[in-house]
Amino acid sequence: MPSSTSSSEVRPDRYARQTASDRPGVAQPVPVRPVPEQPWGRIFLGAVALFAVLLAGWEAHWRAFGVTPSMNNDDGLWAIQRRRIDAGEGTATVLVGSSRVFFDVRLPVWEKLAGRRPIQLCLEGTTPLPFLEDLAADPHFTGRVLVGIDPQVFFTGFRYREGALKYARKESPSQRIGQWLSMHFVEPYFAFDDPDFALQTVLERQPWPARPGKPWLSEVRKLSLHEADRNSYLWGKVESDPQYRELARNIWRQGFDPGLYPPPQKLKEIIKAQIDGTAKAVATLRARGVQVLFVRLPSSGEYLAFENRMYPRAQAWDQLLKVTGAPGLYFEDYPELRGYELPEWSHINASQTERFTTALYAILQRDFWGPAATPPAAGVPPPAPSAAAPR
C-alpha cells in the first residue's frame, strides 16, 4: 500500500497532524482534534442570527409569492395512508389514480356523505396499476376501489411516483419518526418547505440557454395543497394568477407534442399491456368481493382535445371496461359532472370541488354502489342522468 509520499509536504503549523497513513504497521494512537483559535461563542451566536434573518427573508419571499404552509405530498405521507389498510381499515373505500381524483375529490365531503373517510392513495403523474396490483395482493383489503383514469398517465403507464410503494414497504422507524416530526413541527409552519421551492429546483427552472439538441422542458410546477390525510386540492394561485395559470397550461402543452410519444403501433401495444395488467388485478380483487369502479374525471380545453386525439374513448376507455369487465363512470355522460372550471384544463377549481364531490358521490350511490344501484354494463353509457347540471 502507499507509503512513499513524505508527510513533509504538510506545512508544519500548530494544527498539522499525522494520520494513520503516516504510521504503517503500528497501533494507532488517540487522534488529535484541535479547535482553531476563534471567538466561537460570538461566532455561533452570529451564525444563528444570520441564519434566522436569511430564513425569515426566504419564507417572506415565498409567502409574498402566494404560498401557504401545506403538508408535503411525499412518500412518507402516502405510506401513512397505505398503512391504514393494514391497521384495520381493510373494508374502507380506497381512491387510487392520478392527480384528478387526488385534487378533485374532497375527503371531508365524502366522509360527510358516506359516514367514513376514504383512503386517498392517488399519486400525481402515476398510473394506478401498481397500486391496484398491491391492493390485489393484500388479503387485508376487502373494501371498494375507485380507480381514477387520467388517460395520458394511465394508458402510457407513466410512473412518476411509483417509488412510494417501495418506500411504504421499507420505511424505517427513523423515517417514520422523521415524518411525524416534519408533519408536526415543520410543514404546518413553513411555506418554503415544498420541493417546488427548493433552491436547486428554483435555479433549474431559470431560463438557461437551451443546449443544441436538448430542448428545455419545464417540470410541472406546484399545483396543489395537501392536508395530513392527503385531502388535496388545486392551489388557489393557479386560479387567481393569470400568469401562473398560463405557465401551468404551457407546461401541459409541452406534453401535447406527438413526437414525445411512441409510434401509433407501439402506443397501441402499451395501451393493451396497461389494460391487460389492470384486468388481472381487477379480477383478483373482484374474486375477493372487492367492488372496482373506474372513473374518468373532467378535463377541458386543449388538454381534453389532446386526450381525445391520443386516446380515443372507443379505443382506450371503452376497451378498458370491456376487458376488465368492471363498471366505469365517464364525466361526459353525466351533466352534473360537467361545466366545472378547470383553470389549467386538468383539475377542478378548489372552490368547486366540494360541489363536485357531492355530485360524484350521488352518482356512485345511485348507479354503482348504493343499495338500489344497477351498474350499467361495461362500456355502455348509463341511462339518462336525473341530477341537475352544475351551476
Partner: protein
C-alpha cells in the same frame, strides 16, 4: 438513522443533553451505548443482533488471545474472530454475488443449476463495524494493543454511533482509551463540532445530493448513450458527489464525536489534489487504506520480499479493497485499476528515483492523477461493465452523433462545483481546515457558517442515504 434527518437532530439533541447531565461516567457510557444501539436499530431493529454477535465474538476472542499460552491457541482465537466477522460479511454482503457467479460458472460448463431464491437485506454499515471489530482482535493478536479493560468500553468502541455505519474505521487504540476517563466537550469543542457537522452536511445535502447526483444519474442510470461532454460531465459529477457524500459523512461524524468530547481521526485530506496514486490513497478514505495496509498488505509481505511479491501483495490488496466496496465485478475492476496505477507508479518511482518535478509539472501530474482517478470512478458508478464501456467510449470521443443528455443547467452546476472542489483541494493541499479557519476573520467564519446552514435548509434534503452505507 441518517445524519441528514430530522430524527437525527432530535436524537443528537437528546444525546447531548444526557451527556451533559451530572451523572457518573459509567452511566454516561451506558447512555452512549444505548443511544448507539437506538441509532442503529432505527434502520432495522433485528440487525442489532449482528452488532452484538460481532461484539461478543471479538471480546471473547481477545480474552482468549491474552490467556492463550501456545501460539497455535492464539492463532485459533484470531481465526475465530476473522472467520466469524468475514463469515457474517460474506453471508450478508457476498452471498448473492457468490451464488450468481457459481450459477454462471455451472452454466458455462453446461450444468443448469437453479439455486433457491436468495433474498437477504444487507445490514447497514456491516463492512465498517466488522473491520473495526477485527482490528481489535488483530491488534491484540499482533501484540500491538492490550484488550479493553471492560466489556462496556469495548462494546462502546464497536457501537459508538458517530463512526458505526460509515466510519472513519476506528482502531481500538484510538477510541478505547478515550472511554477510560470522563470526557465532556468544552464549549468551544461543542461549537466547533457543530461547525464541522455543518460543513459535513453542506457537502452531503447541498453539493452531493442537490446539485451533483442528478447529473451522474442522467448519464449512468439511462439506457441512452452519452457523448463526450456528457460522459465527462457525468463522471466528474460523480467524482464530486462521492467525495462530498463520503467526506461529508466523515466530517459530520468527527463533528458529532467532538460535540461529545471525543476525537476521531481524519478520513480525507483533499484527495483531488493528490499527485500520484500513493498520494491519493494517503488522502482518500485514509482509515480504510491504512486498515488494508496494516492488516492485509503488510501481512501479505508488503515490500519486504522483493519486487514480484510486492506487486502481488499490492494487487491483491487493491482487488480485495475493491470487492469490499460492493459485491460486483465492477468494484473489483475499480480496485484492480487502482492496483495497476499504484504498481506503475511504484515502478516509475524506482526508475526515476531522483526526479523532482517543477511546479508546473507538479500541477500537471496532479491533474493527470485526477483524470485517471475519474476513469476508475466509471467502474465504481456504472452498474454493469456494458454501461462502463459505454461511458468510457464517450469519454474517449467514440460515441459520435448521440443526443445530448445533460441540460445547460446541469453542465454549469457540474463545472462550477467540481471546479470549486478541485480549486479548494489544491489551495488546501498542504493545509488543515483548522489552520485556515484560525487565520480567517471571525466575522467571515460567522457569515459562512450562517450561510451554510441556510443553504442546507433551503435545498430541503430528502434524507438520502449516504453512498457508503451500502458498503
Amino acid at each position: 438513522m441518517v445524519f441528514n434527518s430530522l430524527t437525527f437532530i432530535v436524537f443528537f439533541a437528546c444525546v447531548l443533553l444526557m451527556h451533559s447531565l451530572p451523572l457518573g461516567w459509567t452511566t454516561k457510557k451506558i447512555n452512549l451505548l444505548l443511544a448507539s444501539y437506538l441509532f442503529y436499530s432505527a434502520w432495522n431493529p433485528p440487525f442489532v443482533i449482528l452488532l452484538w454477535v460481532s461484539t461478543v465474538v471479538d471480546w471473547y476472542a481477545a480474552q482468549g488471545l491474552v490467556k492463550a499460552r501456545r501460539q497455535s491457541a492464539r492463532h485459533a482465537w484470531m481465526l475465530l474472530s476473522v472467520i466469524a466477522n468475514l463469515g457474517m460479511l460474506g453471508y450478508f454482503k457476498y452471498g448473492q454475488f457468490l451464488l450468481q457467479n457459481f450459477t454462471a460458472l455451472m452454466s458455462a460448463i453446461g450444468i443448469a443449476y437453479h439455486p433457491a431464491h436468495y433474498d437477504i437485506v444487507l445490514p447497514v454499515g456491516i463492512s465498517f463495524y466488522t473491520f473495526a471489530t477485527m482490528s481489535y482482535t488483530l491488534d491484540v493478536y499482533l501484540r500491538r494493543a492490550l484488550p479493553a479493560r471492560n466489556l462496556l468500553d469495548y462494546a462502546l468502541f464497536v457501537t459508538f454511533f458517530p463512526h458505526l455505519v460509515a466510519g472513519p474505521i476506528m482502531r481500538p487504540t484510538e477510541l478505547v482509551p478515550q472511554f477510560a476517563v470522563p470526557r465532556r466537550a468544552t464549549a468551544d469543542q461543542l461549537r466547533f463540532g457543530l461547525a464541522l457537522m455543518t460543513i459535513g452536511l453542506f457537502n452531503k445535502i447541498v453539493l452531493a445530493d442537490s446539485f451533483l447526483s442528478h447529473a451522474a444519474e442522467d448519464v449512468y442510470d439511462t439506457s441512452k448513450i452519452p457523448g463526450t461532454l456528457d460522459a465527462w460531465a457525468g463522471t466528474l459529477a460523480f467524482s464530486g458527489q462521492i467525495f462530498c457524500d463520503f467526506a461529508g459523512y466523515s466530517t459530520t461524524a468527527i463533528g458529532a464525536a467532538l460535540c461529545l468530547g471525543f476525537a476521531m481521526p481524519d478520513n480525507f485530506r483533499f484527495p483531488y489534489a493528490a499527485v500520484g496514486f500513493s498520494d491519493f490513497w494517503r488522502r482518500w478514505h485514509i482509515t480504510l487504506s491504512s486498515w488494508l495496509r496494516d492488516y492485509l498488505y503488510i501481512p501479505l509481505g508488503g515490500n519486504r520480499y522483493g519486487a514480484r511479491r510486492t506487486y502481488a501483495a499490492l494487487m491483491t490488496t487493491m482487488l480485495l479493497g475493491g470487492l469490499w466496496h460492493g459485491a460486483n465485478w465492477t468494484f473489483v475492476a475499480w480496485g484492480g485499476l487502482h492496483g495497476v496505477y499504484l504498481s506503475i507508479e511504484r515502478a516509475l518511482r524506482a526508475r526515476f528515483a531522483g526526479y523532482r518535478p517543477g511546479p508546473v509539472v507538479f500541477v500537471l501530474l496532479g491533474l493527470f492523477t485526477y483524470t485517471l482517478v475519474n476513469l476508475t470512478w466509471v467502474f465504481f458508478r456504472a452498474r454493469t461493465f456494458g454501461k462502463a464501456w459505454e461511458v468510457l467510449r464517450g469519454m474517449l470521443g467514440q460515441n459520435g452523433g448521440v443526443e445530448p443528455l445533460l441540460s445547460t443547467y446541469r453542465l454549469v452546476s457540474v463545472a462550477v462545483i467540481v471546479g470549486g472542489i478541485l480549486l479548494t483541494h489544491w489551495l488546501m493541499r498542504t493545509r488543515t481546515l483548522e489552520s485556515v479557519i484560525a487565520r480567517t476573520p471571525a466575522l467571515l467564519v460567522c457569515a459562512i457558517w450562517g450561510l451554510l446552514v441556510f443553504l442546507i435548509v433551503i435545498v430541503q434534503g430528502e434524507g438520502n442515504a449516504f453512498i457508503y452505507f451500502q458498503f
